[in-house]
């Protein structure tokens, strides 16, 4: 019942006058009927208000259900993401070690090849300079033959080891997929958090924080957005310039 409404006010005054008249005239039944009808008018308004509240409550609950996504995120997807990122660390480490195993083996092999060739060259030059003893020529020929054979085998070995180095790079595809999944997850978490801020917090504060660049204290590892930062060097040249400006 809205007494601020003019018609409603006039009607209520009339009804009150009627009620008073009924009571004065001892018309109890009529008075009772009028009181009941007045009360039910109030009930209608009450029901409307309850209706509104119910709708609000329903919306809040729906929103809250949407944020049960947060429960999923916290309970399973984030722990899962941690496992995925550990997988990335393991895969990249294994690939780096496998590559280095093969590279070390290749460099050792190439060192031996270089050393053998060098020794052979010394004797080959002796042949040119006619410094070779007659009996040594046959020995040199044998040496060259076995050197060439060994070289061929070594070249084959190098090739197969380099192929293994190539294959060790397959981690990039696998870890790339995993990292992309984690990026999607981080995006979902961000959306859920913005949603919560919209419902319970201040969007002004959110927008302010968004534009604020926080200066990072202490160690932070590799800087991935060098172009957006003016407190970091862009490479070794800038390190050298800075150090020489300090008298290094």
């Amino acid at each position: 019942m809205k007494l601020s409404n003019k018609d409603q006010l006039a009607q209520t005054i009339d009804q009150t006058k009627d009620l008073l008249a009924h009571l004065e005239n001892n018309e109890i039944e009529d008075a009772q009927e009028l009181i009941d009808s007045l009360a039910s008018d109030g009930d209608d308004d009450l029901f409307i208000e309850i209706g509104k509240l119910t709708r609000n409550l329903h919306e809040a609950l729906t929103n809250f259900q949407m944020d049960s996504r947060i429960t999923d995120l916290a309970a399973s997807e984030i722990p899962d993401a941690k496992e995925r990122l550990n997988y990335v660390i393991e895969k990249t480490e294994a690939a780096a070690n496998k590559t280095m195993d093969k590279v070390e083996s290749c460099t050792q092999r190439s060192d031996v090849m270089a050393k053998d060739s060098e020794e052979l060259l010394v004797e080959w030059k002796k042949l040119y300079n006619r410094e070779l003893e007659p009996g040594d020529f046959r020995k040199l020929c044998k040496k060259i033959e076995s050197h060439l054979e060994k070289n061929k085998n070594d070249a084959d070995e190098l090739h197969s080891e380099l192929t293994e180095v190539l294959m060790a790079q397959d981690y990039q595809d696998l870890t790339g997929q995993v990292i992309r999944q984690v990026i999607t997850l981080v995006h979902d978490v961000e959306e859920s958090m913005v949603h919560i801020i919209k419902m319970f917090g201040s969007m002004d504060g959110y927008n302010q924080a968004k534009t604020k660049t926080t200066a990072k204290e202490g160690v932070e590892g590799p800087v991935v957005n060098v172009e957006k930062r003016d407190d970091v060097v862009q490479g070794q040249d800038e390190v050298d310039d800075l150090l020489s400006s300090l008298g290094f």
Partner: protein, 124 residues
Amino acid sequence: MKILVVDDFSTMRRIIKNLLRDLGFTNTQEADDGNTALPMLQAGNFDFLVTDWNMPGMQGIDLLKAVRADDKLKSMPVLMVTAESKREQIIEAAQAGVNGYIVKPFTAATLNEKLQKIFERIDG
């Protein structure tokens, strides 16, 4: 020349050891942070220290400061090889007495150049 290579990632230690070996430095040992490195330095007749900055346990900058504060070690050349690239950090390392500073990612040529520079200065 006995060199200690300190980095928390074994792959990076291995890369540096390989590059050092190519440059003729075959006597290298490894540690994974300052806490393991410092007692090795104090006990082990090292001539040169190559260290990362960001490590769990004792960080490289604190290891550098500890080396400079130790009477037996204070003149040891220290080369920092790190991803830390803030100007204030480079200045901090310089003030703490670092002999060279390389930012990751780096090349074999850079490592060679910085080592030569340090040796020239020591000899000269």
